[in-house]
Amino acid sequence: MVFGVKHSLLILLVILSIVKASFALTYTLTDKLGRSVSVEIPVKRAVVVITYELIPALRVWDQVVGVSMWAEKSCDLYRAIVSENPSLRKPLVGAGSNLNIEAILKLAPDIVITWSYNPENVRFLEKREIKTIAIYPDSLTELYQVIRMHGRLFGKPNRAQELIREMEGIFDLIEKRVSGIPDKMKRKAIHIGGKPNRVSCGIGVTDDIINLIGGINPAGKIKKRYADVPIEMIVKWNPDVIFIWGSAGYDTSWIYKNSQWRFIDAVKNRKVFKLPRWSTWSPRLAPISLYMAKRLYPERFKDIEFESLTNRFYKKLFGISYHKVKEYERF
């Protein structure tokens, strides 16, 4: 009798595993480099090169086996979480711009999710039969697609949708408050990068965000991601607000002290702001947008408490408080 039960259980297990295998899904997608990639999902051993902020957001720590060193070096969120819980720390696979292929091979990943910055790395991995997906979200829509793609890859499509809903919650809040602004009254804002004359142009998440917060990006006419423009072009644009990229090697005082910028309204009215050093390829794009909106139209966001709203967002999405992450912002 016991023998019969054991046999029945064994047969049941075999049948279940066959059924499971036959239901294992293959997800086929076209990545930013135009390559068609097919992956068995959910992935169990992923290397995440650039979108490491989605690991805590999707709660997929146990499905990730490696990250790039930029996670440890440049990402306050990742650093805060792994410092609080060292068992979550992942092996490093080189810099995001230059992957250590041997380190990746050692981890035997199902998939490497990287960006399209260095296509040679992608081709090299492909030759070694490591499935690789290259991303580069050039708009808010593309960022949502990237989040959804991560959700499907890790078998967490509902969680991915939840992240997008949370982001949209903040975007809706912003849009409601700026939607009534007539075009003529819209304020001009530019986003400057590593050099004061490097502006974010018409392709990219930043341009979308400036438009979403009710601003006009004068550099949006240039159909590039970034461009170095002559200073006199910035004077000609005469932006009302200037946002400085958070990791830029200069701050607002450099702009205020430089006499070449003195006729720009943003400088005259002390409306130059340095942004937090957060990734814009992450759900954190939503609180960054609120931060920018509050500075572009302060009168319309007087009652919004940025810190408490962001804190709630962090706890809900990343499981850690904004204040704790802030401790790791300067490094």
Binding site: W70, P196, A227, P230, I231, E232, M233, S259, Q260
Partner: protein, 333 residues
């Protein structure tokens, strides 16, 4: 005819500079530019402090002057080093200046944001030349080949260090390093002009007054010595002044290639190999070329094309032409 060519070359940077004052993204009409200039020089008109005035006097003018000074520095150093090394393929970056400056920039952008890039670029470019010189000195007398070889070694070493930093920094900083390496005048201001004026002036003026000695040095070590020249000392002085000029220029604008190689050749083709006239005309021609290249870089599109790209695009075809024409004819031997 030769005098006319000389006159044209001397006047060209001023002419190019004047024309460049009228060109730019803001679109100020020529009348206003003239009014602003007359107001500033002769006080004929009274003009309020307007954005137009700031653009002409605080943005365009310092940029044009800086371009001229940097062009003169690169070209002047090029002609000097080509003379003392008796090698037409020497450029001002041969002793590791560019690699040293790039390393200084990379350290700054990557890790030491609080230190001005210019300062670090200057320190490391000078350091690179000092190391190159000392390696060559270790071989005994500092002669041409060991010095060039040590320059190659030091350049390779600093280039490797830059690669390590590029590997370690995040993508945006990486972009900043790459763009700096391409060279640009986009952030020129009066402070840069003052630094360039003093640094480049202190190096090119002595070269100008010592230029006739280059004719003797270019005869070779033995012949120059026989003519009573202290070859070691003279070479050291010329290398020192050239290095200072190029280090200052590079620290302010990044690496701008080809000017130091191409312009002296061009001038030599027009007026011959006599350094007494070749050196000062290389200053003027370098300034003209750089002003023209920078004006193209800032007016060709709505964004600022790194000037290094413009100089390289014009430099490569020029050298193909030069090769076709034959080195001997150009070098004048």
């Amino acid at each position: 005819m030769k005098d006319f060519k000389i006159l044209i070359m001397v006047l060209s940077p001023f002419l190019f500079g004047f024309i460049a004052l009228f060109l730019g993204a803001y679109g100020i009409n020529a009348k206003d530019v003239i009014k602003i200039l007359l107001n500033e020089t002769l006080h004929v008109f009274h003009i309020e402090d307007t954005p137009q005035k700031a653009i002409v006097l605080d943005i365009r003018l310092p940029r044009i002057i800086l371009a001229g000074l940097v062009g003169a520095a690169l070209s002047g150093s090029g002609v000097t080093l080509q003379g003392i090394f008796r090698n037409p393929l020497i450029d001002p970056f041969i002793l590791g200046i560019s690699a040293g400056a790039a390393f200084g920039c990379a350290i700054c952008v990557g890790f030491l944001n609080f230190i001005p890039i210019q300062l670090m670029a200057f320190i490391f470019s000078l350091l690179a030349v000092i190391i190159s010189y000392n390696i060559a000195k270790g071989q005994g007398e500092v002669s041409r080949l060991p010095l060039i070889l040590s320059g190659v070694i030091v350049s390779a070493f600093f280039t490797a260090l830059v690669s390590i930093i590029k590997f370690l920094v995040d993508p945006h900083r990486l972009q900043a390093i790459v763009f700096w390496l391409m060279g640009s005048f986009s952030l020129s201001d009066w402070d840069s002009v003052k630094i360039a004026g003093v640094g480049i002036g202190l190096s090119l003026i002595p070269i100008f007054f010592m230029r006739w000695r280059l004719n003797v040095l270019s005869l070779g070590y033995e012949e120059a010595k026989a003519l009573g020249i202290n070859v070691k000392l003279e070479r050291l002085l010329f290398i020192g002044f050239s290095t200072l000029a190029v280090s200052v220029a590079t620290s302010l604008t990044g690496i701008i290639g080809w000017v130091g190689l191409m312009v002296p050749h061009l001038v030599r083709m027009i007026i011959g190999p006599d350094h007494r006239i070749l050196v000062p005309l290389s200053f003027f021609a370098g300034a003209s070329f750089m002003i023209a290249a920078d004006t193209i870089s800032r007016t060709l599109t709505s964004f600022d094309i790194p000037v290094g790209i413009i100089t390289s695009i014009s430099g490569a075809p020029f050298f193909i032409y030069l090769l076709k024409r034959g080195g001997k004819e150009v070098w004048g031997r």
